[in-house]
Structures are given as structure tokens and as C-alpha cells.
């Protein structure tokens, strides 16, 4: 039993460290398994000589910082202005379903919405614009990466919103707010000065994860980002998949550079934190009350609901496209419904769904077993905190180190072990990303379980195994299934790990949808993107329905929400 917490830590941290080593050595020309055994600075030299590299780095850094800052600002302002009100409850309702939507699907939906031939343009054309054919604007793939940033912001808002909501119950914020408002502070100012610093302290690591993800994102960048040149991570993947093996050394150097870019982003973020804290102190010293905050309220409201609606409508559009017959440009709706894509491409869609489900179910089954075993082991060891300190570090490692930075190296390691492109390797690498989210999802309900039930069960003569299997696990059934559904959604949304470790031989709904995004077949993209959403949705549906059915006659286990 005592081995499980360290095992979990090792499964998380070893792939990251091995992967980092696996790019560091090749970045200095050392990759003996492919015949490169002369240490040199050549990979770095050729990397730095790549045309447009500085612009790619700048794009990554700028979009990442902007995406993280904007999504956090929207969440902070929205909570400040609307916590506990009607709009807040509406937004919260949207939250979980949107969170389970893969990044790639959300980005594709956004592209369907805002492209020059997209739905918004169709709605207002030709009446307002006079366009009879799609205008030649570069909205999607714009050179400055603005649409890509917007896509990231829209997708990160639900994540940070949920993180902030999870942090709130641990803060006695109502009293703090009363005090602030009794001093004459406006609603938003009271929140930002008094409550937000406490929330931020608790969601800081998730914010860093958002930042690291955004500076190194690949799938969203392929779908929405600039192409000439693309952001750094996208270029690295192109080099990695190039038949010319020597480009791998250059890609490895690029991966190290990507790690440095992420570190720089975090450094800049820390400076930004200080700057904002200083501004806050200044405002407090001056005694500014910010009682008139209507403009900010309107902004927070508009930004939050634009983001939520953009994703929701984008997703609906993809469903419509997947069954669209002829659909000429300025028409708001297709002329007729056609299931040609679904019938004609059924075999390949089915194969992708099956692969996604297989990888996801295996990763979740193994993962949930490991997580429960680790939590229970800590419980039996009477540990005060269900997560050991090394485990917390290990949980954040795969989220804070950019995926590109260690997946290249991990691919080399799997190649060396003869495991490349195998299901084993894929499930292992998915576990690295699935485990943290399953732990985050399960640890709070696990902690909240009343330990006196165990005391009573022990006093009734039952041992630790009996208490775990017959009392604790059934009582936490709903939470365990929710964690499993979260894990499955994370697995189904993985693009880069599936692409690189699967060696292109495993086509999942996500890899297919991203691969298709560069082509123009909107009906087929719509079909794959729809399946991308449907799979995690089924997972969450089961997680909600099964406990309700199994425990339909046990009112004490119903969740009141």
C-alpha cells in the first residue's frame, strides 16, 4: 500500500524528466540511436538561423501572456461584479459542459463562426455588408495571432472560473465584502482589493498552467493561428515530423528554446503580479473607492458571455455543418439536410471514435485505480494531507512544462524502448496528463468525507479493506465517476501526445479534426469535431446517471445543487 503514492509520483515525473533529457542531449547534436553522436552547437546554430524565428517566439510569448492575462481578468471582474447574482448562475451552468469541450473543437467552432465565410458574416450578409461572396479578410490565421489569442481566452475562461469557484468556499469572503462596502468601496473594488488576492493565491498554479499551455499551444495554433510564420511550437512539430532526420536535432534545440520561452513568460508574469500588487497598494493608500464601476461591469458581462456564447454557438454550428447539404455563402442556413458525410465516411469516423474511446478508457481505468490506491495509502498511514508534497510537484510538472518541450524527448525514449506507436506508450503518456486532473477532481470530495463513518465501521468490527470497499468507495461513487469522466475528457482532447507518441498511427477524433482543419471540408470537420464533443459528454452523462440509478432510493447521497 505504502508504495502507491511514490508510484504515482514516479509515473508523473519520470516521463517529464526523461523527455527533457531527451531533447537536451539532441539539442547539442547527441542522438546516437539515429546515428548522431558528435556533440556540437550545430542544432542551435541552424535553429537560430531559421528565418522568422524571432517572430515565431514573439508570437508565442505575446499570445500566451495575453491569453492568460485576459482570461484571468475576465474571470476576476466577472466574479467581482456578478458573484451570487442571476448572470453568475447562468454562467456557472454553462461552465462544466464547456470545460469538457476539447480545445481543438472549441477552436474549430470559433473558426466556423468568425471566418469571412463564417456564420456571423452569413447572418449580416448581404443585407448589411453587401457581400455576395466571402470577403478576402484574413480573420482566421491572422498574422498577429489575435484570433488564436481570442480562442485561447474563450477556452481558458471556463477553466479559471471553475478553479476560482473551487477556491471561494475556503475563504470567508462575505464578511470581508460587507466591511469593504461599509467603507464605501464599490462592489468590484471591494472584491478586487479584499477577496481576489485570497482567491488568486489559491489558483496561482492553475494560472501558471494556463500560461505555460498558451505559450506552447499547438492544436489551437494550427486551427486559428498565423501561418507565415506560425508560432514556435507549431514550427517545432513540423520539423519533428519532417522525413529529414537531422531536422530533429534542430527541433530538439527548439524544444529547449520553447521551455525557455515558457520560463520567460512565467518570469514576466511574476513581474506583472508585482506591478499590479503595487498599483493596488497605491490605490488603497490614496483611498480610491471606485464606487462608479458600471463600465467595468458591462465589460465583464459582455466578455464572459461573448466567450461562453462563442464556444456554444461554434459547437452548434459544427453540428449543423456535419449534416448540411448545399450551403451557399450568404445563406444563414443550409438549403437542405444531408447525411452524406456521416454515411460516406462512417468507417473512418467510427475508427477514430473507437481509438479515442480505447485509449481514454484504458488511461482512466488505470489512472483512477492509481489515484484511489494512493489516496487510501495516505489515509492508512494517517497522513494529515492526502497528497504528499512531492506528489503535488509531480502533478503540476506535466502541466507547467510545455508539452512540446518534453514530448519530443519522450518519443525518442519510447523509440529506444521499442514502444513507439504502441498502445502501451500512448496510454502511458495520456496517463501523465489525465492523472493530475483526476486527482484535482477527486481530492476535495475525498477530504470532505466524514471520517467518523470509518470510525463507526471500525468500531463495528470491520478492517481497513472493508471500510474502503464497502463504505468509503460507495459513498464517494459519484465523485469517483466524475473524476473518471474528467480524466476521459482530458484524454480525448489530447492532440500533441497522441500525434507524437502514437507516431501518426493512432487517429483519434482530435488528431483527425486538427488534421482536417487545414483542408476545406467543413462537413467532415464538423462531423469529427462533433464526435470530439460527444465522447466526453457521454462520459459526464454516465457519471451523472449511474449514481442516480444505483442510489435512486438513497436520498442521503443525492447532491443538492
Amino acid at each position: 500500500m505504502a508504495l502507491f503514492p511514490p508510484l504515482l509520483t514516479i509515473v508523473l515525473i519520470v516521463p517529464v524528466l526523461a523527455g527533457l533529457l531527451g531533447v537536451l542531449l539532441p539539442s547539442f547534436g547527441y542522438l546516437p540511436w539515429l546515428g548522431f553522436d558528435r556533440v556540437s552547437l550545430d542544432p542551435w546554430r541552424s535553429l537560430l538561423e531559421t528565418p522568422g524565428l524571432a517572430w515565431s517566439v514573439w508570437l508565442s510569448l505575446k499570445s500566451g501572456l495575453l491569453a492568460a492575462a485576459l482570461s484571468l481578468a475576465v474571470v476576476a471582474l466577472f466574479l467581482a461584479a456578478f458573484h451570487g447574482t442571476g448572470p453568475f448562475r447562468v454562467a456557472r451552468r454553462f461552465l462544466s459542459p464547456l470545460l469538457s469541450v476539447p480545445h481543438a473543437a472549441a477552436a474549430l467552432g470559433l473558426a466556423f463562426l468568425v471566418a469571412p465565410s463564417g456564420w456571423i458574416m452569413r447572418l449580416v450578409s448581404p443585407e448589411l455588408t453587401g457581400f455576395e461572396r466571402p470577403p478576402d479578410y484574413l480573420v482566421v490565421h491572422d498574422a498577429y495571432g489575435l484570433t488564436m489569442t481570442a480562442g485561447l481566452v474563450a477556452k481558458e475562461i471556463p477553466f479559471l472560473f471553475l478553479m476560482a469557484l473551487a477556491a471561494l468556499p475556503q475563504i470567508d469572503f462575505r464578511r470581508d465584502l460587507w466591511i469593504a462596502s461599509s467603507f464605501g468601496y464599490g462592489r468590484i473594488a471591494g472584491w478586487l482589493f479584499v477577496v481576489f488576492p485570497q482567491v488568486y493565491r489559491q489558483i496561482r498554479l492553475p494560472v501558471f498552467a494556463v500560461l505555460a499551455y498558451s505559450v506552447s499551444v499547438v492544436d489551437v495554433a494550427i486551427i486559428l493561428g498565423p501561418t507565415t510564420p506560425p508560432p514556435l511550437a507549431v514550427r517545432l512539430v513540423t520539423w519533428m515530423n519532417d522525413p529529414d532526420l537531422s531536422l530533429r536535432l534542430q527541433a530538439s534545440a527548439g524544444a529547449v528554446l520553447q521551455l525557455l520561452v515558457a520560463a520567460l513568460a512565467v518570469g514576466l508574469w511574476l513581474a506583472l503580479e508585482r506591478g499590479i500588487a503595487a498599483l493596488g497598494r497605491l490605490a488603497l493608500q490614496k483611498g480610491w473607492r471606485f464606487a462608479a464601476d458600471r463600465v467595468l461591469r458591462i465589460f465583464a458581462f459582455a466578455a464572459m458571455f461573448t466567450a461562453l456564447l462563442a464556444i456554444a454557438v461554434g459547437l452548434a454550428l459544427m453540428a449543423v455543418w456535419s449534416v448540411a447539404g448545399p450551403w451557399r455563402f450568404p445563406d444563414a442556413w443550409p438549403a437542405m439536410v444531408s447525411f452524406r458525410v456521416w454515411t460516406g465516411r462512417l468507417a473512418s469516423i467510427e475508427a477514430a471514435v473507437a481509438a479515442t474511446a480505447l485509449i481514454g478508457i484504458l488511461a482512466v481505468l488505470i489512472g483512477i485505480g492509481m489515484v484511489l490506491a494512493a489516496l487510501e495509502a495516505r489515509n492508512r498511514a494517517s497522513a494529515r494531507n492526502p497528497l504528499s508534497r512531492p506528489l503535488v510537484v509531480a502533478l503540476y510538472a506535466p502541466l507547467l512544462v510545455p508539452q512540446v518541450a518534453f514530448l519530443f524527448g519522450l518519443q525518442v525514449v519510447f523509440l529506444r524502448l521499442g514502444l513507439d506507436s504502441t498502445l502501451t506508450a500512448l496510454v502511458l503518456v495520456h496517463l501523465v496528463f489525465v492523472l493530475p486532473y483526476m486527482v484535482f477532481s477527486l481530492v476535495e470530495p475525498w477530504k470532505a468525507w466524514d471520517p467518523r463513518y470509518a470510525v463507526v465501521a471500525h468500531a463495528l468490527g470491520h478492517g481497513a479493506n472493508s471500510v474502503f470497499w464497502r463504505i468509503r468507495l460507495p459513498m464517494l461513487f459519484r465523485s469517483v465517476l466524475t473524476a473518471a469522466a474528467v480524466g476521459f475528457a482530458v484524454s480525448a482532447s489530447q492532440y500533441l501526445p497522441t500525434l507524437l507518441i502514437g507516431g501518426g498511427r493512432w487517429a483519434t477524433t482530435t488528431t483527425e479534426a486538427v488534421a482536417l482543419s487545414t483542408g476545406g471540408n467543413r462537413r467532415l470537420i464538423g462531423a469529427y469535431a462533433l464526435m470530439q464533443m460527444v465522447l466526453p459528454f457521454i462520459g459526464f452523462l454516465l457519471a451523472a446517471a449511474l449514481p442516480a440509478i444505483v442510489f435512486r432510493r438513497r436520498r442521503g447521497l443525492w447532491v443538492h445543487s
Binding site: 468500531a459 470491520h462 432510493r553 438513497r554 436520498r555
Partner: protein, 228 residues
């Protein structure tokens, strides 16, 4: 003793009759760091109730946790706990066979009323039919015949208390440890459940240790009252 007072646990010279039947606490002391919370020697004979009163935070519940074998490792305990002449100080919780009741009934919400009772019946009653018969008889005993398949959440507070009591008794405990088990009941039910518990304990000749801050509980128990 209030929660913020500091007192060292001093060795007491009182000797107890270790061979006595019932529950014997032999110079049991519990400390948190340097602070002594409990320092107690007493004997609870079978069928009797010893009541321990004290303010909240005085360590009453900690004492019960110590006797039951669930003491949080941040506390340090010394002394001996004897049950019918056997030292159980180092025996694991599930082998002590002490019946515990808290202010909340803590019926397992995922099991039916019968399921809760079946969970408590010792494994040496092997046949399922016998186990069910024992559970049904226990329900009948407290006026809850036919409640076996009910969801515990649909029972009233008094009914839940009775189920919790029978669940404890079915596990064949050798003593009862009661941690304010009546405090969440309304005054009318409180008296009835209390008499029921004490009557059952007397009939089964169980030593009972009751901790409470309620005077009427202490008075109703009728036994010695110790103050922490």
C-alpha cells in the same frame, strides 16, 4: 478545564483494580504537546453508566477516541485501558469491540436500514438468512418492524437514533462509548431514546461511558459523574 489553560499531566498514585470486570481506565492521560487535556482513572462496572462532563474543547471526545482506538496521532497518550481484565491499550480499533455512538447517527447513506444492521452483525453468523432474521428482530425490538428496506434518509431523527443504537448493539460490543448521542434530538424524544439506551446497556450488562455537557443527561444516567 478550558481549552486555553495549560496543565501538565502529573503522575497519579491512585491504583485501580485491574482485574475488575468492566471498563477500567488506569491513569489514562492525553496531551497535545505540553498541554495535558485529560488525566483520568476510573472503573465502569458492567451495566453502569459513568458520565464525564466538561466544556466543549475540554477533551471529552478525545478521551473517547483514545479508548476507542482512534486517537489522532498529534496527541500523545499514556496509561492503560483494560476491558474485563484484559489490557486493550495496544489492540487495534476493530478488535476492541467497543460500541460507539455520536451526536450524528452516522447511518451509512448508501445502505438500507437493513443493510446498516447487516454490516454490524459479526461474521461468525455466517448464514444470510440468520443474519437477516437477527436484523429484523432488532428492528422489531425498537418498534421499527418492517423498516428494513427503507432508505435511512427517509426516517425521522428518533427512528434513525434507534436504528443507530441497534446497529451498535448488534456488533456485540463489550462496552458503550457515547459521545453526546442525544444532543441533536428534541427534548421529548431525547428522554425516550436515553432511557432506551441505558435500559439496553443494563440488560446486556455493558459498561457505559457517556460524555456530555448536558446536565439532564448526566442526571438520567444515574451513575458517577466525573468532571474534566
Amino acid at each position: 478545564m478550558g481549552p486555553f489553560m495549560t496543565r501538565m499531566c502529573e503522575p497519579t498514585t491512585t491504583r485501580t483494580d485491574a482485574a475488575a470486570r468492566g471498563l477500567v481506565l488506569d491513569t489514562v492521560s492525553i496531551s497535545l504537546g505540553e498541554t495535558c487535556l485529560v488525566d483520568l482513572t476510573c472503573t465502569v462496572t458492567p451495566g453502569d453508566v459513568v458520565t464525564i462532563v466538561g466544556e466543549s474543547g475540554s477533551g471529552k471526545s478525545t478521551l473517547l477516541a483514545c479508548i476507542g482506538g482512534f486517537l489522532d496521532p498529534i496527541f500523545t497518550a499514556s496509561g492503560r485501558i483494560l476491558l474485563n481484565g484484559t489490557d486493550i491499550t495496544r489492540v487495534p480499533a476493530r478488535e476492541r469491540r467497543l460500541g460507539l455512538m455520536f451526536q450524528d447517527d452516522l447511518l451509512f447513506p448508501h445502505l438500507s436500514v437493513r443493510g446498516n444492521l447487516l454490516f454490524a452483525i459479526p461474521a461468525d453468523v455466517a448464514r444470510r438468512r440468520d443474519r437477516v432474521a437477527i436484523a429484523e428482530a432488532a428492528l422489531e425490538d425498537v418498534g421499527l418492524a418492517g423498516f428494513g428496506s427503507r432508505d435511512p434518509a427517509t426516517l425521522s431523527g428518533g427512528q434513525r437514533s434507534r436504528v443507530a443504537l441497534m446497529r451498535t448493539l448488534l456488533s456485540k460490543p463489550r462496552a458503550l462509548l457515547l459521545d453526546e448521542p442525544f444532543s441533536k434530538l428534541d427534548p421529548e424524544r431525547r428522554g425516550r431514546i436515553r432511557s432506551l439506551v441505558f435500559a439496553k446497556a443494563r440488560r446486556e450488562e455493558l459498561p457505559v461511558l457517556l460524555v456530555t455537557h448536558d446536565e439532564s443527561d448526566a442526571k438520567a444516567a444515574g451513575g458517577p459523574i466525573l468532571s474534566l
